[in-house]
């Protein structure tokens, strides 16, 4: 951060490139990732009770390999029964 609370430009460049390269490498646009997320929620919800609002889908990279990371919190069955 500089005096005006603005990010230094090298940091912006790196963050913007990280996102652009993921999409270039995987051919997956943010919109496609969103619809993938919606469909995943739908399918998984048929089998287990999940917290749909907290689901996170991200593409991460390690060197030159990409992986899709899904974080899908389950709702506790025991708590629901108790409630």
């Amino acid at each position: 951060m500089n005096w005006f609370g603005q990010k230094r430009s090298a940091q912006s460049a790196k963050e913007r490139l990280q996102l652009v390269l993921i999409h270039d490498r995987t051919d997956l646009t943010p919109a496609e990732l969103d619809s993938l997320k919606d469909e995943l929620i739908e399918v998984i919800s048929r089998h287990v009770d999940i917290d749909a609002s907290a689901v996170q889908i991200d593409v991460e990279h390690d060197g030159r390999s990409q992986r899709l990371i899904a974080d899908i919190p389950l709702r506790s069955v025991t708590r629901r029964r108790a409630g």
Partner: protein, 267 residues
């Protein structure tokens, strides 16, 4: 002799491919290696002026491929180094005059004669680029610490992966240490982290590069130039020597980390 065929590529234009070819070739020739440079940019020939050989051209790459001259006749000897040669691109033809198999055949003919064959790839990822990478044993990708150049370099690296070529090595050209220090330029570490390939050289921004190309004398011949030093170091690393990276930023710790990354990353 069995030459190593090394192609220099970038995706984006204007990042310093031709300068890199001329300088690394000169540095290897200074060390006594026999080197041939091929200008792969048909229709936009440039390596001849950067090497100062534009007045000596009689035959070009397309003349060799179409059988109008012998390979030897199209090899222009450098003014300073007896074992350095240039095969210039044709200026009045287009890239379709050459095919990837033509380039492979030409390089196979050169392999027993010399130590290194350098191919200066045109910008882009079309035919001219495909021609340039077809015979390559090794590809060096040149980029600048700048968003568009890094993005295009990533595309080229992706294509090379898909072609199952040996993992390319990166030349980070025109790094401005002062801008990096004030966090207004991507650092070498940032670029390596984004692209995830091995590093073979960092070349600082240096006015001498322009002076050298004005005169047709690559800066690798200038013992005082920082960029010249960086290109000479790349030449040494190509020969398998371990050369520490120049401390451009004088920040202890950072360069140790870069050197560690340069040593090899997960594929």
């Amino acid at each position: 002799m069995t030459a190593q065929v090394i192609t220099i590529s970038s995706g984006k234009g204007g990042v310093g491919k031709t300068t890199a070819v001329a300088n690394i070739a000169v540095a290897l020739a200074m060390d006594g290696a026999k080197v041939v440079c091929i200008d792969g940019d048909i229709g936009l020939r440039n390596l001849d002026v950067v090497m100062g050989l534009e007045n000596r051209i009689v035959y070009d790459l397309v003349d060799v491929i179409e059988g109008r001259c012998k390979l030897r006749q199209a090899m222009i000897r450098d003014k300073h180094y007896n074992e350095l040669y240039l095969i210039p691109a044709a200026q009045t033809r287009d890239k379709s005059a050459v095919s990837p198999s033509d380039m492979t055949r030409l390089c196979n003919e050169l392999r027993p004669e010399v130590d290194y064959v350098f191919i200066d790839s045109p910008a882009g990822i079309e035919r001219g680029f495909r021609n340039a990478i077809a015979p390559a044993d090794r590809v060096l990708v040149v980029t600048n610490p700048e968003v568009s150049a890094v993005r295009d370099a990533d595309r080229v690296i992706g294509i090379l992966e898909a072609e199952e070529k040996r993992s390319p090595a990166l030349i980070l050209n025109r790094l401005n240490p002062a801008l990096v220090k004030q966090h207004d330029m991507l650092s070498a570490e940032d670029v390596l982290d984004l692209l995830g390939i091995q590093l073979i050289g960092i070349v600082p921004e240096d006015e001498n590069v322009i002076v050298g190309s004005n005169r047709g004398v690559p800066v690798a011949q200038d013992s005082k130039s920082r960029a010249g030093q960086a290109f000479r170091n790349i030449a040494k690393r190509l020969k398998g020597e371990e050369v520490p990276f120049i401390d451009l930023e004088k920040q202890p710790g950072l360069w140790d980390r870069i050197q560690k990354m340069a040593g090899g990353r997960k594929a």
